[in-house]
């Protein structure tokens, strides 16, 4: 055995010798870890960056599910407030006309229709559709640009003006009509 080999053996033996206090230090570390685990509450879990591990596909599925639930909840809330759902657009409009959405609140009505100079004041020509809540009635009608008079007919009997629209100045046949201007700055 030459000198180098003897030096190597000495180093090896030295490294294999137990370090003074190593056992006590390891015990202390284990006890501390156990104590910390026991005192960690739910709050700490939420801020721990390593607390949750998830596969990317599962994470994406979770995000999609949350969005779906949100959209469904929003739609249900809107319906409960009586807001009207978006109506499908009218595919083709005659030249010089605009699609106008009429909304009327008629609690207890079984049938509501729209009458005006655009449909010959025919109560059967333009029925309104009942919205989800049952009080709101809507119809979307393409109207030529210009001034229009109109009213709502409830259950085929009562003619009512639109409470949100300008009124006609004269009640020609007993009740005033509403007025609508299409194609000026906007539908009025």
């Amino acid at each position: 055995m030459n000198g180098d080999e003897r030096w190597d053996d000495d180093v090896r033996v030295e490294y294999q010798l137990p370090i003074e206090g190593e056992e006590q230090a390891r015990d202390r570390a284990i006890r501390r870890l156990r104590r910390e685990s026991a005192t960690r509450g739910i709050g700490a879990w939420w801020v721990d960056p390593d607390a949750l591990r998830m596969r990317p596909a599962l994470a994406a599925a979770c995000v999609f599910a949350v969005l779906l639930i949100g959209a469904w909840s929003g739609a249900a809330w809107m319906a409960s407030r009586g807001a009207r759902a978006p109506l499908p657009p009218i595919a083709t409009l005659p030249s010089g006309s605009t699609a106008v959405t009429f909304v009327f609140r008629a609690p207890g009505a079984t049938r509501v229709s729209l009458v005006g100079d655009f449909n010959g004041w025919d109560p059967d020509a333009t029925p309104l559709a009942r919205a989800t809540t049952g009080e709101i009635w809507t119809a979307q009608v393409p109207l030529q640009h210009g001034l229009h008079a109109y009213a709502f007919v409830i259950d085929g009997r009562d003619w009512e003006p639109d409470p949100s629209a300008p009124l006609a100045p004269v009640a020609t046949f007993g009740r005033r009509n509403s007025l609508l201007v299409v194609g000026e700055d906007r539908a009025l």
Partner: protein, 217 residues
Amino acid sequence: MRRVLALALASVLLAPGRASGDESEEARLRARLEPELATPVIEVVRSAAAQGLPTAPLVARALEGASRQAGDAAILDAVRRYATGLAAARRALGSTARAAELDAGAGALMAGVPEDSLASLKRARPSGSLVIPLVVLSDFVARGVPVADASNAVLAATRAGAADPALLRMRERIHERILRGEAPTGASREGLRELLMKTPGTPKERGSREPREKGRP
């Protein structure tokens, strides 16, 4: 020669359209009215067409009366009065007034708005459309604002350069005030004051006093 040919061609091309339009209106009237009513109503419609007045509002009045199951006399009277209103509106607004302006003007006149007020509106907005000012004016009258106050409010706003959206906002505010229980006159004055305060280039003091036309109510 070319001009004559062009005119002849135009008349040939346009005549069927006009004829079919008139026939269509008459056919609708005959389909919905009893013959003894349809005939005099069609006479009124033809007379209006001969004067160059819009006929669609007259047909609409007749059909509305039929749908509301009004009596023949009431329907014929309504159509005649509307035709008179259309002619008066054209006198006030001029021969260049569009059909919708005449329609709105006729309604305002029938509610008691004087022809002078319509003519003043035309002078206040010589090139723009008067449909929305006239509709706003009619709405004020319908909601109980005295004709003079309603005319004054719309005229002052138009003279101040208020655009249609501003007029519509004024209408909404006045409507809200009336719904809250304010007197229509006070509501219209406050609505006008608010509009004038917000209209660019309008002296603030004009908002506190309503400008009136000399000799007008």
